[in-house]
C-alpha cells in the first residue's frame, strides 16, 4: 500500500488532495479481491500503467489551463509582456552571441588530433617575440630538440595557376614533408608528401585543397596524377586534402613541398620559416621551451654574428593568438555578462512589481479555494513562458548577429567559416533562460504568495511595501552601476578608435588604388626581366586618363609589416636588435609621389639607378636621425641587404606596422639594384597608383596593360589604400560598435528601471502625496520629492559604477591606444548621460505625482 501511495505522488498535488484517500481505498479493495501471484502481478502492472497515463494527463490538463490563463493574463498587460520578452531576448541574445564567438575562437579545440601537443615555434630577438626561423636554424632546432616527436616548417606564398581557365592567383603554403603528418591529417584522395618530394631536382608535386579541387577540377577523382602549371612550372597533383582541413589559414588553396638548396642554409638572417612541433607524449610546453633555450644558446655561441641575440619562443598552437584579439573577445563576453545581469535585474524588477500588483488577485484566488501550490505553479508557468519566448527571440537575435561576429574571428585561425549556433550554445541559452525565468519568476511568486491572505484583500494595495521596495531600489542601483561600467568601457574604446583613426600614417591614402601582380619564379628571377615588366606596365598605366602617378613597390604599408633587415654601419658588427634594423622595400621611381610621402632631402630613386651605377638608398627621417643625428645624411654609406648603399634621399616616416605599433625606420632601394634570383621575396609586386578616376572604371584598362606586358600574368588583391588603412581598425570598429550598442541598451534598461520604480513609488504613495498636497505642499515640492528619489538612486548607482569602470578601464588598458583608463572626458560624458537618463526616467512619474488630485488620492483607499 505504501508503494501505491508513493506512486500516487506522480499526480499533481491538487489532484492528490482531492482523491488520494479514495484512490487508496479503491486500490485496497481491489487488492483484497485479488489472489495468486499472477493476479497480484496483473494488479500492480495495471496500477502502474493507470498512474503513469493518468498522472501525465492530469499534469498536461493543468499545464493547458495555466497556459491559457497565462496567455490571457499577458494579453491583459501587453506592455509588461513585451518589455519582459524584450529584456530576456536581449540578455540571452547578447550572451549566446558573445559566448558562441568566444567558444569558437578561444575554447574550441583546434580541428587536429591531440591539439594540446601542437606547438608553434618562433625565434625571438630583443623587441620581437615572434620571428620566423631561417632554414639553418630550423634544421638545427629540429636536430637538437628532443622534446619534440616531430618538427615541420612552412611558409606562405602565392602562385599563379595557369592553364585551368582564367589565370588565377592562389594562396599556397610550402611545407616540409613532416608538417602535415604532425597535424594528423589524412588526404581525402591520393597521398601526402614524403621526404622524397623535398629533394632538389625531382619533379614538383602539389596537394590541392578540397575547395580548389571542387571549383577548378569539378571534384574529379582522376585529378591525382594530373599535371598543372604553377608559376609556369609543372607540378603533379598527388592528392586532395579533406574538406575541413585548413592550414595555416582558411584561404590556402594548395600545398607544395619546400625545397632547400644548399645556399638556403648559409644565411641565418634569412628568416622566413614558420615552425610547428609536436611534443613527445608526457613532455610539457615548459620543458620544451627550456630545451629550446639551451639549443638557441648553443647556436648563439657557435654563430655569434647572426645568432647572438636570437632566442626562442613556443606557444601552444591553440594559444598562438595575439593578446589583443583575446582581450577584445574577453571584453565582449564581459559586456554580454553585464547585459545579462542588467536584464535579470530588470526582469526581476518587472516580476516583483507584477507580483505586488497581483497580490490582490492571488489573495482572491486563494480565498476561492486555489491551493498555494496551484498558484505557484501558475506563476512559474507564466515566468517560463516569458523566458522561453524571450529566449527564442534572443537566439534569433544572436543568429542575426553571427555575420557581424564573423568579422571578429582572427584570420589566423585554421578553421573555416564563422561561429554558428551549435547544440551546446542552444543548451547554454536554454539554461540562462530557464534560470532567469525560474530565479526571478518563482522567488517573487513565492514571496507574493507567502503574504497572500485575507489581510491583503482588506488592506488593498498597500501591503508588503517596504522590503520589496528596497530590493527593487537595490536592483535599479545595480543596473545603473553596470551601465556606467559598460558606457565607460565603450567610451574608452571609441576614443581609442578615434585616436587611432586620427593618427597620421605618414602617407595620403585617399584616391590611391593598389593591386598585386606577383611575378612567378623562376620565370622572373632575372632582375632585368622584372624591370622590363615594371617599365612596360607603368608607362601604360601612367598614360591612363585620371592617373596622376604610379609605381611598383615590394610591399604595401600596413598590409605587410615584416621585411626587416639588419643595418650595418662602417666598422660595426651586424646586430639583429630592435634599434639596428630597418624595413626593406624595393621600389620604382614615383612611389613617394604616389603615396604623398614627402621627400625631405635629396631625391627619389631614378630609372638611372641600376646595377651598373652606384648602389643608392632613400631612407626615412627616423633612419637618418638614428644614425646621423647631427650630420647631413646625404652621401653617407651603410651596409644593407648585402651591399654598401649611399643615401641619396630622405623621406617622411610612414606607419609600416599600422597606427598601433612602432614601425622600424624605412629604407627604399631601387628595384634594379639587386642580383638575379637574390631575395626574390622582395621583388616589387604591388602596383600603386594615384588617380582621380573611379577604381572600377580604371581596372579593365590596367588589366589590359598587364596582359600586354605578360598575357599569363594574373592580377590579385585589388584594394584601395584607404581600405587597407581602414582595415587596421576594422575589428576595433566592430568591437566598439558592439560594445557601444550594448552600453546604450544597458542605459536604456536602467532608465526603464528607474522609471518603473518611481512610477510604482508614486502610485504606492499616492495617498501620502494626496495628504501632503491637502496640507499645502505645492506641486513643485512633490516633483522635488520624486526627482530627489531618482537622483538618490542615480548617485547610489553612478558612484560605485565609476569606481568599477575605472577598474574595467585598467583591465582594457592594452586596447586603449594610450587613452588613459581614467580619461576625464569619457567619465564626465558618462555621468552626464546617466543624469539625463535619470531625469528622463523621473519625468513622467513626477508629472503624474504633481497632477494628482488630493481628494481622489485620499479617497481611493
Amino acid at each position: 500500500m505504501r508503494f501505491y501511495q508513493v506512486l500516487l505522488r506522480l499526480y499533481p498535488r491538487s489532484f492528490r488532495a482531492e482523491y488520494e484517500t479514495e484512490m487508496c481505498a479503491l486500490f485496497a479493495e481491489r487488492r483484497r479481491a485479488t489472489d495468486g501471484v499472477g493476479g497480484r502481478f496483473a494488479l500492480w502492472a495495471g496500477a502502474w500503467a493507470d498512474v503513469m497515463v493518468n498522472a501525465a494527463a492530469a499534469h498536461w490538463e493543468i499545464l493547458r489551463q495555466d497556459l491559457r490563463y497565462t496567455v490571457r493574463a499577458l494579453a491583459r498587460t501587453p506592455g509588461f509582456a513585451i518589455t519582459a520578452v524584450f529584456v530576456v531576448a536581449l540578455g540571452v541574445g547578447a550572451n549566446t552571441a558573445a559566448f558562441s564567438l568566444a567558444d569558437y575562437v578561444l575554447l574550441r579545440p583546434l580541428p587536429f588530433p591531440e591539439p594540446e601537443r601542437l606547438v608553434k615555434l618562433w625565434g625571438g630577438v630583443p623587441g620581437y617575440a615572434r620571428i620566423e626561423l631561417s632554414p639553418a636554424d630550423f634544421r638545427d632546432w629540429r636536430a637538437a630538440a628532443a622534446s619534440f616527436e616531430a618538427m615541420g616548417a612552412y611558409h606562405n606564398n602565392q602562385v599563379n595557376l595557369v592553364g585551368q581557365g582564367e589565370p588565377e592567383r592562389l594562396d599556397a603554403t610550402s611545407v616540409t614533408s613532416d608538417l602535415l603528418p604532425i597535424l594528423g591529417v589524412q588526404p581525402a584522395l591520393g597521398r601526402l608528401f614524403t621526404p622524397a618530394d623535398d629533394q632538389e631536382g625531382v619533379g614538383g608535386t602539389v596537394l590541392l585543397s578540397y575547395g580548389l579541387w571542387r571549383s577548378r577540377f569539378g571534384g574529379d577523382a582522376r585529378v591525382v596524377g594530373r599535371s598543372l602549371l604553377l608559376d609556369g612550372m609543372p607540378y603533379v597533383v598527388i592528392g586532395v586534402m579533406p574538406r575541413d582541413f585548413h592550414f595555416p589559414r582558411r584561404e590556402v588553396a594548395l600545398w607544395t613541398p619546400i625545397r632547400f638548396d644548399a645556399a638556403a642554409f648559409e644565411d641565418r638572417n634569412n628568416n622566413y620559416l614558420q615552425a610547428l612541433g609536436k611534443l613527445r607524449p608526457g613532455v610539457s610546453l615548459e620543458e620544451a621551451q627550456a630545451e629550446l633555450k639551451v639549443v638557441t644558446a648553443r647556436l648563439a655561441r657557435e654563430f655569434p654574428e647572426s645568432n647572438e641575440h636570437t632566442g626562442s619562443n613556443a606557444y601552444l598552437l591553440q594559444d598562438d593568438l595575439s593578446q589583443q584579439a583575446r582581450l577584445l573577445l574577453l571584453a565582449l563576453c564581459g559586456a554580454a555578462l553585464c547585459i545579462l545581469l542588467i536584464a535579470c535585474a530588470n526582469l526581476a524588477n518587472l516580476l516583483l512589481a507584477r507580483a505586488v500588483a497581483r497580490q490582490h488577485e492571488l489573495a482572491l484566488r486563494t480565498a476561492l479555494g486555489a491551493g498555494r501550490e496551484r498558484l505557484v505553479r501558475q506563476l512559474v508557468t507564466e515566468s517560463l513562458v516569458l523566458a522561453l519566448v524571450g529566449g527564442a527571440v534572443g537566439v534569433l537575435v544572436a543568429m542575426a548577429m553571427f555575420p557581424l561576429l564573423g568579422r571578429l574571428v582572427p584570420e589566423s585561425l585554421p578553421v573555416a567559416g564563422g561561429p554558428g549556433l551549435d547544440l551546446r550554445m542552444l543548451a547554454f541559452a536554454g539554461l540562462i533562460t530557464g534560470l532567469t525565468g525560474i530565479g526571478f519568476g518563482v522567488v517573487p511568486a513565492l514571496r507574493a504568495c507567502r503574504g497572500t491572505s485575507l489581510d491583503v484583500l482588506r488592506e488593498g494595495n498597500r501591503a508588503g511595501g517596504g522590503r520589496r521596495q528596497s530590493l527593487r531600489a537595490a536592483l535599479v542601483i545595480t543596473e545603473l552601476a553596470v551601465s556606467v561600467v559598460l558606457l565607460v568601457s565603450a567610451g574608452l574604446l571609441i576614443r581609442a578608435l578615434w585616436r587611432l583613426r586620427a593618427v597620421d600614417p605618414g602617407f595620403r591614402a585617399e584616391t590611391v588604388l593598389t593591386l598585386r601582380t606577383a611575378l612567378p619564379m623562376p620565370k622572373y628571377a632575372p632582375t632585368a626581366r622584372r624591370n622590363a615588366f615594371y617599365s612596360r606596365v607603368l608607362s601604360e598605366v601612367r598614360a591612363l586618363p585620371g592617373v596622376a602617378s604610379a609605381a611598383y613597390i615590394s610591399f604595401l604599408p600596413m598590409a605587410m609589416t615584416g621585411g626587416i633587415w639588419p643595418v650595418v654601419m662602417d666598422g660595426e658588427p651586424e646586430r639583429r636588435e630592435q634599434n639596428r634594423v630597418a624595413s626593406l622595400r624595393y621600389t620604382t621611381p614615383g612611389f613617394f609621389a604616389t603615396l604623398g610621402i614627402p621627400v625631405r632631402r635629396g631625391r627619389d630613386v631614378r630609372e638611372s639607378d641600376t646595377r651598373e651605377s652606384q648602389f643608392v638608398a632613400v631612407v626615412s627621417e627616423s633612419f637618418a636621425r638614428r644614425y646621423w643625428p647631427d650630420a647631413d645624411p646625404l652621401g653617407r654609406q651603410f651596409k644593407f641587404a648585402f651591399e654598401e648603399r649611399t643615401v641619396v634621399g630622405v623621406v617622411g616616416d610612414i606607419m609600416v606596422r599600422g597606427p598601433e605599433r612602432t614601425s622600424e625606420p624605412q629604407v627604399y632601394l631601387p628595384a634594379p639594384q639587386v642580383a638575379d634570383s637574390s631575395i626574390i621575396f622582395y621583388a616589387p609586386q604591388e602596383l600603386v597608383l594615384r588617380s582621380s578616376a573611379e577604381p572600377g572604371a580604371l581596372l579593365p584598362a590596367i588589366r589590359e596593360a598587364v596582359q600586354r606586358a605578360d598575357p599569363e600574368q594574373p592580377i590579385s588583391n585589388v584594394q584601395t589604400m584607404g581600405a587597407i588603412v581602414a582595415d587596421q581598425t576594422a575589428s576595433r570598429a566592430v568591437q566598439a560598435r558592439l560594445l557601444g550598442a550594448l552600453a546604450a541598451i544597458a542605459l536604456l534598461l536602467a532608465g526603464v528601471g528607474i522609471h518603473g520604480l518611481l512610477s510604482y513609488t508614486v502610485s504606492d504613495r499616492s495617498r501620502e502625496i494626496g495628504v501632503r498636497m491637502a496640507l499645502g505642499a505645492r506641486p513643485r515640492d512633490i516633483v522635488g520629492m520624486v526627482v530627489g528619489q531618482g537622483v538618490r538612486l542615480a548617485v547610489a548607482g553612478v558612484v560605485p559604477g565609476v569606481l568599477l569602470a575605472y577598474l574595467a578601464g585598467r583591465g582594457l588598458e592594452s586596447l586603449l591606444a594610450s587613452v588613459r583608463p581614467g580619461d576625464a572626458g569619457t567619465f564626465l560624458s558618462v555621468v552626464a548621460l546617466c543624469l539625463v537618463m535619470t531625469t528622463a526616467g523621473c519625468f513622467f512619474p513626477a508629472w503624474r505625482a504633481a497632477r494628482l488630485d488630493p481628494i481622489t488620492a485620499i479617497k481611493s483607499e
Partner: protein
Amino acid sequence: MPESTPSIDALLPLPPAAFHILLALADEDRHGYGITQDIAARTGGGVRLGPGTLYRSIQRMLEQGLLVETRQRPPLDDPRRRYYRITPFGRAVARAEARRLSDLVKLARAQGLAPARA
C-alpha cells in the same frame, strides 16, 4: 466547481469511461468503488476502470457539470467515502450519447455489418 456549462454537442462523443460512469449512476448515487463494481458487473468483468482513470474522469465530469458530489449516503456507510450523483444535464448528455451510438449501429446494420434487431 463547474466553470461554465458546455453544450451537449461539445461533449460528444463521450469517452467510454465517462459513458460507463453515467450509466452506473443512472439508477442510484454511488461511491467510486461502487461505480467500478457496477461497471464490472454490467459488462461481465469486461471493463475494469483503474483508480486513476476513474477519478480523473470524475474530476472532469464534475467540472463539466455531468455529476455532483452528494452528501446523502446510506446510514451505516464509511463517512470517508464520497458519493456522486448524475445531474439532469448528465442524463441529457448520456441520452444524446446513447442516441449517437444507436444511430451508428443503425448505419452499420444497413450495411450488413451488425446483426439485425432480434
